[in-house]
Amino acid sequence: MSTFEYKLAFKDYNASLRKNKLLGLSCKDCGKVTCPPKLVCHECGGANLDISTLSGKGKIVTFTVSYVTAQGREVEAPILVVMVELEEGPWVILSALILIALRWNL
């Protein structure tokens, strides 16, 4: 075990997202929320973090509809990708399908 570990690594963030639950990190130093997770608080760089469940609510700040997709994802086209400002503050990039799932389940 390393002496400095991720509070919330991709594996657990992603497993939670698959259950339509969006996790973030609340900073005990500055009070801000980081999502998607990082090793330290995005706002203040502090490492004093708690995992928190986010509301899944927010505002779509921008989007694109992609007709040309990466190899292996052709059947998904057109893909609607959105950038969302979560009500807790962070911005995240999500597929529209995940956005809908979050809103239905939370």
Binding site: T62, T64, S66, V81
Partner: protein, 391 residues
């Protein structure tokens, strides 16, 4: 720190489906740069190469070592730089520092890629690797998609109606093709009209085909030398007087700055401050127009326009050949092409040739003394170089 000069430059044609390999292309560009510097390969003490996708396009890693051996610069230290589309400028910036420090007197730097050989589907997949593979790519984000999102955000944040913004963007592409058609080393040689841009196929809303640069194959290289060494080699040295580089995390993490890219604000300030110049001192700029909206976003952070007003430079001719700040007289990534590892070095080559009066007459800017390059990689590596005519 010592002054560092660019002595000679080399540049292969940019094209679709080059017949030559990634190693051959870089070797040809490097040898042209060496010969035009009145040097031999054995005079080169180190090599710095931007190469991003040789592994995927040709199954070729370590392009730099093979290229050094190909040209006869046997056993020199050769290093590869990977910062997506900014790789070539990253390589030049590091080469600059090795010479400025006094460690080497004469080195070569540049870049190469053969991305068109992958085809559009694999090409799109590999370019998407320069977003966050776990937190962004699963959403379906592609590299054009990221700029599609920035474009919509630009329209909302600055209150520029999308129809007006799209027309400004079309003018960016029209100008790139207008000058790119004359660049003999460029990839696309056709003019386009605003109507053609606005009726081209939708790639990722609101970006259409002619808002996007092509996939390209090609290489570019420059020889860098200390001021003392350069004086013996050329009467026309071009000095690198300012360098900047900065990086950012995921697009979404740049929330308070978007659609501008925070790394550009930081990088270009480093370069301007180091050179002791201001944006209004720049006579010519080669900037990273991977997408038409990217040009409009870039000119604002580079200090050529107020935020939200970048597109006006193309509307009123200020970015044109006789305008206040001629931009992308090479044709830019849009028309000249974008072999990603080569792009930063290609920008430098073209400004050096502009200063030497050595480009095609139709795109020659008069009396270029100070030039700026701007290169963007992925979610936000930016490199900037200030070049100054040394004679």
């Amino acid at each position: 720190m010592r002054k560092v000069a660019i002595v000679g430059v080399g540049h292969t044609p940019f094209s679709f489906l080059a017949e030559k390999t990634v190693v051959e292309l870089f070797s040809e560009a490097a040898m042209e740069a060496i010969i035009s510097s009145d040097l031999k390969a054995k005079d080169i003490k180190a090599m710095f190469v931007g190469n991003v996708l040789g592994d995927f396009s040709e199954g070729q890693g370590m392009v730099q070592s093979f290229a050094a051996d190909e040209i006869g610069a046997k056993n020199i230290p050769a290093s590869r730089f990977e910062g997506a589309c900014a790789s070539g400028t990253m390589a030049i910036r590091d080469a600059f520092m090795w010479v400025a420090s006094g460690f080497y007197d004469i080195v070569i730097a540049g870049g190469v890629d053969t991305t068109s050989k992958m085809g559009t589907a694999l090409g799109t997949r590999t370019f998407a690797m320069f977003t966050d593979s776990h937190y962004e790519y699963p959403s379906g984000l592609t590299f054009p998609g990221a700029f599609g999102m920035l474009c919509h955000l630009y329209s909302v944040k600055y209150g520029v109606p999308l129809a007006k913004l799209k027309r400004q963007m079309a003018l960016v592409s029209v100008q790139s093709h207008k000058y790119g058609q004359y660049n003999k080393l460029g990839q696309l040689h056709n003019e386009v009209t605003v109507d053609e841009v606005l009726s081209s196929a939708m790639v990722t809303s609101p970006l259409q085909l002619y808002d996007c640069c092509p996939f390209s194959d090609g290489a570019a290289a420059i020889v860098l030398a200390s001021e003392e060494a350069a004086r013996k080699l050329t009467d026309e040295p071009v000095y690198i007087t300012g360098v900047g580089q900065a990086s950012s995390g995921r697009y979404s993490s740049q929330k308070e700055y978007l659609p501008r890219l925070r790394a550009r604000d930081i990088s270009v300030k480093q370069a301007y401050d180091m050179a002791g110049i201001k944006p209004e001192d720049v006579d010519i700029c080669e900037l990273h127009d991977c997408f038409s909206i990217a040009s409009i976003i870039a000119v604002e952070s580079l200090g050529f326009a107020e935020f939200g007003h970048g597109g006006e430079l193309w509307e009123n001719g200020e970015a044109d050949i006789r305008g206040r700040i001629p931009i992308n007289m090479s044709g830019g990534l849009k028309s000249k092409g974008h072999p990603i590892g080569a792009t930063g070095a290609s920008q430098v080559c073209d400004i050096v040739k502009q200063m030497r009066g050595a480009v095609e007459a139709q795109r020659q800017v008069e009396d270029v003394k100070i030039g700026l390059t701007d290169t963007l990689g992925g979610d936000g590596i930016i490199c900037n170089l200030v070049l100054e005519k040394g004679w």
